[in-house]
Symmetry: C2
């Protein structure tokens, strides 16, 4: 979905050997290339319980694989929400995973950033958390390079996805949650509700979409996350002041240590998803009550 | 699956702004990183017809998305083989898609190669073929960068996958087919059968695994593919000379123009998959007859 064709010119041709069974091929590095498109995979149920599809948007340095299986091998939130009765769309943000990426500095102005295992351990607040630490290496294998100069491309592609599905619940994480809140403010008509799990940023404009913001209990104690928690709490207050149905909650792990930055991978991932589903479904019921002919909620 | 941890040192730290809600973060570019791992997604059936899983390995410049949906929106070979009764594994080769990629020249010795739309049109033999030309742009949006110096990393990860599943049918395309034939020769005990759709190379060693090699009817008329068709035909003859159950066939499109290099996307994609399935299932029946206690074929 999304993307556009870009033209490159003025680069020297290169001789490249693609396979040992053929001579090197002179490759013209110039020409037309697709750029900024986004890969989206959907699973539609034969008998969905909810008419509104649910979109899962991953965080920085990760891909849609975030939602498939937890690093310790349990079913992820994709399966949770499918079993719950939603058609579920999983995407790889622009320049991540199956969306591909483009030349730098010719197309992206900056270099990519590579997240080390130590940085993931630190930024994802793994130590002493509900994250299954024995599966840390399985998680870091799912880390991919990312750029920090591609926000507008990513937003355009997510906007194109929302236009395609027309109307959705978006459950998003970290950088994906920053994109989701930004688009909920720009195009509220596309959203039934938005759930921002540890959003890495909040928009300047207040939206009108029902919004749930979730943070781990100890995010405030972390030097990188503390100011972002504070900004997102201020954003929540501004939503409430405008009369928007908005909630700001800490995630709690009744049976163990606090949640990490990646709660969809934590040991209590299903409990967090359950909390999110309950919150969403109350909003879907309210929409249905407000406009019964739309039958947003099919049979619940 | 697969991969190993690599350490980088001696690079200068960088100040990087990840989000407008937080100050720039000093990122130490050094440290430990996962490298050469491979993303694999499996769909297992509640009641598979075949005990042996089927692995789909994509070609160069593409990802596992190759197998999901054709560019013109029909179900792809992943769905075909699931409906046929196989557990199906779809992977993204090392440095493609969700497998992520690593720094160059620090980790990969060379630069990546970007396939232009014109090169795809030419190398994939789109003009006048069974490929749905109106969906060419949808296909080129699925193209990702690739390296030409990573064969051994890719082979190691595919070998790790085969070790994990123990025994499989592999249906592979182009570069993926070159990897599949190479591993069938190196580790024949892992293969029930291998199907090489337009393999971009063949190994030096002859294998012992039942092998089907498929080419489009006009591949011989194409300057890049002609010598590769000839080499793979010679490989087929060497397999036959060693008494291996091997077939070399041209794909035919009864109802229209010849197949392109990407027959899983062509208008007759289901007919080609049907031919492949029929060939595979004869081999599975023969294995079962040869060693009935293994019950390779559950109920066919």
């Amino acid at each position: 979905v999304g993307g556009k064709t870009v033209s490159l010119s003025g680069m020297e041709p290169k001789l490249i050997r693609f396979t040992h069974d053929a001579p090197p091929l002179e490759v013209d590095q110039n020409g037309e290339f697709d750029a900024f498109q986004m890969y989206v995979q959907y699973v539609r149920l034969a008998r969905p319980r909810f008419r509104t599809p649910l979109l899962l948007w991953h965080g920085g340095s990760l891909t849609g694989a975030t939602w498939e299986t937890t690093p310790d091998g349990r079913p992820g939130w994709q399966t949770f929400f499918l079993r719950r009765g939603y058609d579920v769309y999983v995407s790889d943000a622009v320049e991540r995973g199956r969306s591909g990426w483009q030349r730098f500095p010719e197309i992206y102005p900056t270099e990519p950033v590579f997240r080390s295992k130590r940085e993931a351990w630190e930024l994802f607040r793994i130590a002493g958390s509900a994250f299954p630490a024995e599966a840390f290496d399985a998680m870091t294998k799912s880390i991919v390079p990312r750029w920090t100069s591609t926000d507008e491309y990513a937003l355009d592609a997510y906007a194109a996805l929302l236009e395609r599905v027309r109307h959705a619940v978006v459950v998003a994480h970290s950088q994906g949650a920053a994109y989701a809140l930004a688009l909920a403010a720009r195009a509220p008509e596309r959203f039934a509700a938005v759930v921002a799990v540890e959003p890495s940023a909040v928009p300047a404009e207040a939206g009108s979409v029902p919004t749930l913001i979730l943070w781990g209990e100890n995010a405030r104690a972390h030097s990188f996350w503390a100011p972002i928690v504070a900004t997102s709490q201020a954003y929540h207050r501004s939503l409430q002041a405008s009369g928007v149905d908005a909630a700001f909650e800490e995630m709690h792990n009744k049976s163990g240590p606090p949640n990490s930055h990646v709660p969809m991978m934590d040991r209590n991932s299903d409990a967090i998803a359950e909390r999110i589903a309950t919150w969403i479904e109350r909003r879907l019921r309210e929409r249905r009550r407000a406009s019964p002919r739309r039958r947003v909620l099919a049979d619940a």
